[in-house]
Amino acid sequence: MEAVIQLKNVSRRFGEVQAVRDLTLEVYRGEIFGFLGHNGAGKTTTIRLVNGVLEADQGKIRVLGFDPQTQGPQLRARTGVITETASMDNRLTALDNLTIYADLYGVPRAEVKTRVSGLLAQFELAERANDRVAAFSTGMRQRLAFARALLHQPEILFLDEPTSGLDPMAARQVHSLVTHLAREEKRTVFICTHNLVEAQRLCDRVAVMEHGQLVAVGSPHELASRYVRRLMVNLETDPAQRESALEILAAAGALVDGQPELANGGLRFAAAGREAIPQTLSLLVNKGIRVYHLSAEEPDLEDVYFALHAGKEQ
């Protein structure tokens, strides 16, 4: 797999604040990479470092083979960024915003017109092309930001919290767009988000940042099996045997983290990881319990996120 973004021991501080600390990370071509972390974890700073808008204090960064510090312009010609605030010129029309940026991004002159009108149409802004952006809704502004970021057909797209402030419909549009850009158009997407459900659904791999440091990286599934130490299990037995089933589980130490609860005529309890499932099953069956249903709830990124955070707080 080809790494299009490489960071090696990268650090950056602002006065007393260590915004990014010793960050080592690779992002591969064509993947949707999620960058998670609390407010102030260093996500935006990382995007700025990687695009040569900020300079690293230490460490080495390569993006598409370029050094952002010395080859910023060449590099930025091949990346697109949607910043945290839409940063659209409210006083200009949608059309002006795009054509001026087409010049700034060096879109071949002969193609400016077709690309701009194509993007305006794609993002359902064609009818409002000559209106000033000041009159646009947040969703329209975000669509225009996408159009602007795609003008020069960048290989890597950085999205800094692209769905915050959007309604569910608009957010879903962003999701399908991101999937399309990565799967059909083979672009790499680097997406910062606080929305764990979004990251779970979209991302091939995610990195979790905390206070400028990388605490975990991997696919949502990998992270779940690596970091989530408890798993919610649903068990349904013959109702008459429920009490004895509980006693057997408790005696075997299969229950972790609080008391089981009654749910849907069955039991729901926390077990210690995936291996607990076959163990529980054979234990119950050997003791003559009639098991009708046993299932584990797949842990998701939310569980990972809180598991990682809980680990840090202890």
């Binding site: 900020l54 910043t83 659209m88 010049d103 002159r109």
Partner: protein
């Protein structure tokens, strides 16, 4: 240097600034009053205009103090004509520099401090422009607008001065060599002063209004020139104006040399 990029920045800044009333109104009104109305007022209502303590009515003592070259230039005219010509051509000359200074600093305030305040600067930082192109584009938009406004003001003034003074002088006497030097040499340098001061001010200013007010100080040296002439300390002449322009260009260069460090991405983004 990529001209397409520079022109794109110029186009963007000027289109954006054209929507800001607190920029556009002074840019239109000040030249109209200064160059459109002032000559008529000066000729028709002598005594109405007070330049640093001396009105048209008491210019006579000043005329006596003129250096030889100016005395020679005014020799063919009678006292009334001398008074009008001296007032319109020489005493008002430093006021002309207010235009490029004001226009360039107001536009630079909007395109630099204002852009940061509107949070549109960040998108610009992610474009494949170099720091130098970004700065040059910003400088160029304010500078071009200022020089164009000064040139338009000069044309207006040329017409108005000759028209207003026709009854008294009966000949076309404007512009002279000194004014040509003012327009093509000193005014562009004054525009440069306005914007290079603004680059420095914008590094500290909170937003457009803040920068606008701090930048207003650049007009002070002009008032000094006006006052200097009105009290007979010095008189505008072609030679003096050439030197004045040279001095301004040097100051511009120095300020920009010092100020360009505030215009690196690193410095700009740290203050977003």
């Amino acid at each position: 240097m990529n001209w397409r990029v520079l022109m794109a920045i110029v186009k963007k800044d000027l289109k954006v600034v054209a929507q800001n009333r607190s920029v556009v109104i002074p840019i239109l009104m000040v030249p109209l009053i200064l160059f459109g109305a002032l000559p008529w007022l000066a000729v028709l209502v002598p005594g109405s205009i007070n330049m640093g303590g001396s009105t048209m009515n008491d210019i006579a003592p000043l005329l006596a103090k003129l250096p030889a070259n100016l005395t020679a230039e005014l020799a063919p005219y009678n006292l009334e004509q001398k008074t009008v010509i001296f007032f319109l051509v020489y005493l008002l000359a430093p006021m002309f520099l207010i235009i490029p200074l004001m226009v360039s600093s107001v536009i630079a305030a909007d395109s630099i401090a204002g852009e940061r305040e509107r949070r549109t600067l960040e998108a610009l930082l992610y474009t494949p422009t170099s720091d130098r192109e970004l700065l040059l584009g910003k400088l160029l938009s304010a500078w071009l607008a200022a020089v164009a406004t000064a040139a338009a003001g000069f044309l207006l003034y040329s017409v108005m001065v000759n028209l207003a003074a026709w009854q008294v002088v009966g000949a076309v006497f404007f512009p002279n060599m000194m004014w040509l030097v003012m327009v093509f040499w000193v005014a562009p340098a004054a525009a440069g002063l306005g914007l290079s001061v603004m680059v420095l001010v914008s590094a500290r200013a909170q937003g457009f209004q803040d920068a606008y007010q701090m930048g207003g100080m650049v007009v002070l040296p002009i008032l000094l020139l006006v006052f200097g002439q009105a009290t007979g300390v010095m008189f505008f002449s072609t030679g003096l104006v050439v030197l004045l322009g040279l001095g301004l260009w040097l100051v511009d260069a120095g300020l920009l040399w010092y100020g360009r460090r505030f215009f690196r991405r690193e410095a700009l983004v740290s203050r977003l």
